[in-house]
C-alpha cells in the first residue's frame, strides 16, 4: 500500500481502478465491480471515477523530481558533464504499456450498452429522459474521454511531445474526440432541428474555430516553447545542485584537509590521490560494463595501499572473474605484492589483471631499486609466505623477477577446471 495514490500505468481507461486497488491493497476486479455497481446509483461510480481521474496523477508522472533525470537527448544526466563521448544513440525508453486484457473497443461497447441499460431502466421507472439530449451528451462525454486519454498518454513522456503526435492512432483519437464533442455541442445547441440548420451552424462554428485557432496557434506555440525551456532549465538547475552537493561533500572537504596538512607533502599527495580516485569513480562510472567481484576487489586493495603509502597504484584490467575462495587468496597475495612495491619501490606501482577462461594472471610491477630474491632471509615472511606460499597453497604459482630496473611479481591462478585437470 503506497502512501500517495497514483493511477496505474497498466490501465484500461485511465488507470483509476488499478491505482485505487493498489492504494487500498485489494483486487482490481473488486474495485471495478464496486465502481460499476455504484454507477447504477445515480451514476455515483462514474462521477467518482471521473473525479479521481482528474485529481490523481498517473504513476510516474511526477517522478521528474526524484527519478533519473534525462537531458534533451535522452541521455542520463551525467552525460552533460562530459562533452566528448560519442553521438547520443540512446533514445528515451518507451514506457512499456502492458497489453490490455480488455480491448478498447470492448470497453467502449460495454460502456455504451451499460448506459443504454441505465436509460432504459430509468424510463421504465418513470423518469422521462429525452433521448434527444442524452445522445449528444453521451457523444460529448465519449469525445472528452478520448481527448483526455490522449493527453494522459503523452503526459507520460513529458506532456505532448511533438513526436508522439505523429503516430496516426494518437492523431485519430484526438481528432475523433474533438469531432464528437463538436457534433454533440452543435446538436444540443440547435436542438436537433433541420439538417440544413445543422449544416449551416457546423460551417459557422468550424469557421470560428479555425479563426480562433489561427489567432491562438502562435501564442500556444510560444507558451509551449517557454514551458519546455523552463522545464529544461529546472532539470539543469537540479543537476547543478546535485553536482554542487557532491563536490561540497568530497572535493571541498579534501581541499580543506589539504590546506591543513600543507606542511606534510606525503599527506597532501595521499589526500589528493584518494580524492582523485573518488571523483573519477563518480564521473566515469561505467554503468553498462558489469564489473565482477574479482576486479573490484583488486581495485579496492590497490586503493587501500595507495591511501596507506601515498604512492600511485595504476590498475589495468582485462576481463573479470568470480570471486571464489581461491581468488580471494589471490587478492590477498596481490595486496601483499602491491604493498611491497609501494613500500620498497617508492615509485608508481603498475598492476595488470587478466582474467580469462584459463585462469587469472596478475602482474605487479614497480620501478624501485629491486632486490635479490634468493638473498631474502628465510625468516622473512613477507614475500615467501604471503605471496609465494599463499599462491602455491591455492593451486597457483608466483614468480618474482627483480633487477636494478624494478621488480615484477607474476601471479597465476588457473581456473578451477584447469587446476583439477593438471593434478590428474
Amino acid at each position: 500500500m503506497s502512501a500517495k495514490m497514483y493511477r496505474s500505468q497498466a490501465r484500461v481507461i485511465a488507470g483509476v481502478a488499478g491505482g485505487l486497488a493498489e492504494h487500498l491493497g485489494i483486487k482490481v476486479g473488486l474495485v471495478r465491480a464496486i465502481l460499476v455497481g455504484a454507477s447504477f446509483f445515480y451514476g455515483a461510480g462514474l462521477v467518482f471515477y471521473a473525479w479521481l481521474w482528474l485529481l490523481v496523477p498517473l504513476a510516474g508522472e511526477d517522478k521528474v523530481s526524484g527519478g533519473k533525470l534525462l537531458d534533451t537527448d535522452g541521455n542520463p544526466r551525467l552525460k552533460l558533464f562530459r562533452p566528448a563521448p560519442g553521438a547520443p544513440a540512446v533514445s528515451v525508453p518507451a514506457v512499456p504499456r502492458p497489453k490490455l486484457s480488455l480491448g478498447f473497443k470492448e470497453v467502449l461497447i460495454g460502456g455504451g450498452l451499460l448506459i443504454a441499460a441505465v436509460v432504459l431502466m430509468s424510463q421504465q421507472l418513470g423518469l422521462n429522459l429525452n433521448l434527444g439530449t442524452l445522445i449528444p451528451l453521451f457523444a460529448i462525454a465519449i469525445g472528452a474521454v478520448l481527448a483526455w486519454m490522449q493527453l494522459d498518454n503523452t503526459r507520460r513522456v513529458g506532456l505532448l511531445s511533438a513526436a508522439k503526435m505523429d503516430t496516426p492512432s494518437a492523431l485519430w483519437r484526438l481528432g475523433g474526440g474533438i469531432a464528437l464533442v463538436i457534433v454533440g455541442v452543435i446538436v444540443i445547441v440547435t436542438g436537433s432541428g433541420s439538417w440544413t440548420l445543422v449544416w449551416a451552424s457546423v460551417v459557422a462554428s468550424l469557421a470560428v474555430l479555425a479563426g480562433v485557432g489561427l489567432v491562438l496557434a502562435p501564442w500556444g506555440l510560444k507558451f509551449w516553447r517557454d514551458f519546455q525551456g523552463e522545464r529544461a532549465g529546472r532539470i539543469r538547475e537540479m543537476e547543478r545542485a546535485e553536482i554542487a552537493a557532491h563536490l561540497h561533500d568530497s572535493v571541498l572537504q579534501t581541499l580543506a584537509l589539504i590546506q591543513k596538512s600543507a606542511n606534510s607533502p606525503s599527506d597532501v599527495t595521499r589526500l589528493a590521490r584518494a580524492q582523485e580516485r573518488e571523483l573519477r569513480e563518480w564521473i566515469y562510472q561505467d554503468g553498462t560494463h558489469s564489473t565482477g567481484a574479482l576486479v573490484e576487489r583488486v581495485k579496492a586493495v590497490c586503493a587501500e595501499v595507495e591511501d596507506l603509502y601515498g604512492q600511485a597504484v595504476e590498475v589495468v584490467t582485462v576481463g573479470d572473474a568470480e570471486l571464489t575462495e581461491r581468488s580471494h587468496a589471490l587478492v590477498q597475495a596481490v595486496r601483499e605484492a602491491v604493498l611491497n612495491g609501494a613500500r620498497h619501490g617508492a615509485t608508481t606501482v603498475s598492476v595488470y589483471v587478466e582474467a580469462g577462461p584459463a585462469g587469472v594472471d596478475v602482474f605487479v610491477k614497480d620501478r624501485g631499486p629491486g632486490f635479490d630474491v634468493s638473498a631474502v632471509p628465510a625468516d622473512r615472511l613477507g614475500v615467501r609466505e604471503s605471496v609465494v606460499g599463499r599462491m602455491q597453497r591455492n593451486g597457483g604459482s608466483a614468480e618474482i623477477i627483480s633487477s636494478a630496473d624494478g621488480t615484477e611479481v607474476r601471479l597465476h591462478l588457473p581456473s578451477e577446471t584447469t587446476a583439477t585437470e593438471e593434478t590428474k
Binding site: 562530459r82 562533452p83 566528448a84 563521448p85 560519442g86 553521438a87 547520443p88 544513440a89 540512446v90 573519477r280 564521473i283 566515469y284 561505467d286 553498462t288 560494463h289 600511485a312 595504476e314 589495468v316 584490467t317 582485462v318 576481463g319 608508481t348 603498475s350 595488470y352 587478466e354 580469462g356 602482474f363 610491477k365 630496473d405 615484477e408
Partner: protein, 218 residues
C-alpha cells in the same frame, strides 16, 4: 633515441591556462611550442596556420559542436599526413580514449605523467610511432579479446606478437623493456604498436563494434 636535428614544433590545445603553462615549462628543450589554443575553433585555426609536427590535444574542449578533441582532428584532416595528434586527458574512461584514437590520434597519455615522459611521447609521435599507455593497451586487449590469431594482417584480431606487446605495455613496461623482454628491437616494438593502432582505428570487427556500442562510443 637520437635527438632530431631540428626541434619538434608543437601546438598545445587545452582549455586550462594553468595546465598549458605548466606543460610548456615541463617539455624538454628540443620541443618548441608554436601556439596555444583553448577552444575547438582556436585549435583548428592554430593548427592550420602553424602546421606543427605534433598537436598535444586535450580530449575535452569547449566550443565547436561539443565534440572536443575529436572535432579538432576532424577539422584538420588536410594536415593529418604531416601533423600528428597526441591526445592528452585527465579522463581515462574507455569512451574518451577509444573515440579520440578512432578519430585519428596517434597516441593517448594521461595528464598525470611526468614532463620527461610526455616529451618522450611527443618525440615518438613525431617520429611516426604510436604511443600507448598501459590503460589504452588494456582497452585494446579488452576490445580485441586475448585469444591470438595466426594470420598477421587480419584487421579484426591481434597477432600473437602484438598480443604479447600489448600485454607487456599493459603491465607497465616501457618500449625499451618490452624490446628487452621479447628479444626484439625497439623499432620492431614500435612497428607492432603502430599495427595495433591501425587495427584499432580501422577495424569494424563485430566484437569491437559491440564493445564500443556497449560504451556508447558509436
Amino acid at each position: 633515441m637520437t635527438m632530431p636535428p631540428t626541434p619538434i614544433r608543437v601546438v598545445i590545445v587545452d582549455d586550462h591556462a594553468i595546465f598549458r603553462s605548466g606543460l610548456k615549462a615541463d617539455l624538454a628543450q628540443d620541443i618548441l611550442v608554436l601556439a596555444e589554443a583553448a577552444t575547438v575553433e582556436d585549435a583548428i585555426a592554430a593548427v592550420n596556420a602553424t602546421l606543427p609536427d605534433v598537436v598535444l590535444l586535450d580530449v575535452h574542449l569547449p566550443g565547436g559542436r561539443g565534440q572536443g578533441g575529436r572535432e579538432v582532428i576532424a577539422g584538420c584532416t588536410a594536415q593529418l599526413a604531416t601533423t600528428k595528434f597526441l591526445a592528452l586527458s585527465v579522463s581515462d574512461s574507455a569512451e574518451d580514449v577509444v573515440s579520440v584514437i578512432r578519430a585519428g590520434a596517434r597516441g593517448y597519455v594521461t595528464k598525470s605523467i611526468s614532463g620527461a615522459e610526455i616529451s618522450d611521447a611527443v618525440r615518438r609521435v613525431a617520429g611516426g610511432d604510436a604511443v600507448f599507455s598501459p590503460r589504452l593497451a588494456g582497452f585494446v586487449l579488452d576490445a580485441f579479446g586475448t585469444a591470438e590469431v595466426a594470420v598477421e594482417d587480419e584487421l579484426d584480431k591481434l597477432s600473437a606478437r602484438e598480443l604479447e606487446v600489448m600485454r607487456l605495455i599493459a603491465r607497465g613496461y616501457s618500449y625499451k623493456e618490452v624490446a628487452k623482454a621479447l628479444f626484439i628491437s625497439i623499432k620492431t616494438v614500435e612497428t607492432h604498436v603502430s599495427a595495433v593502432l591501425r587495427k584499432l582505428q580501422l577495424s569494424s570487427r563485430h566484437e569491437l563494434t559491440r564493445w564500443a556500442a556497449d560504451r556508447r562510443l558509436l
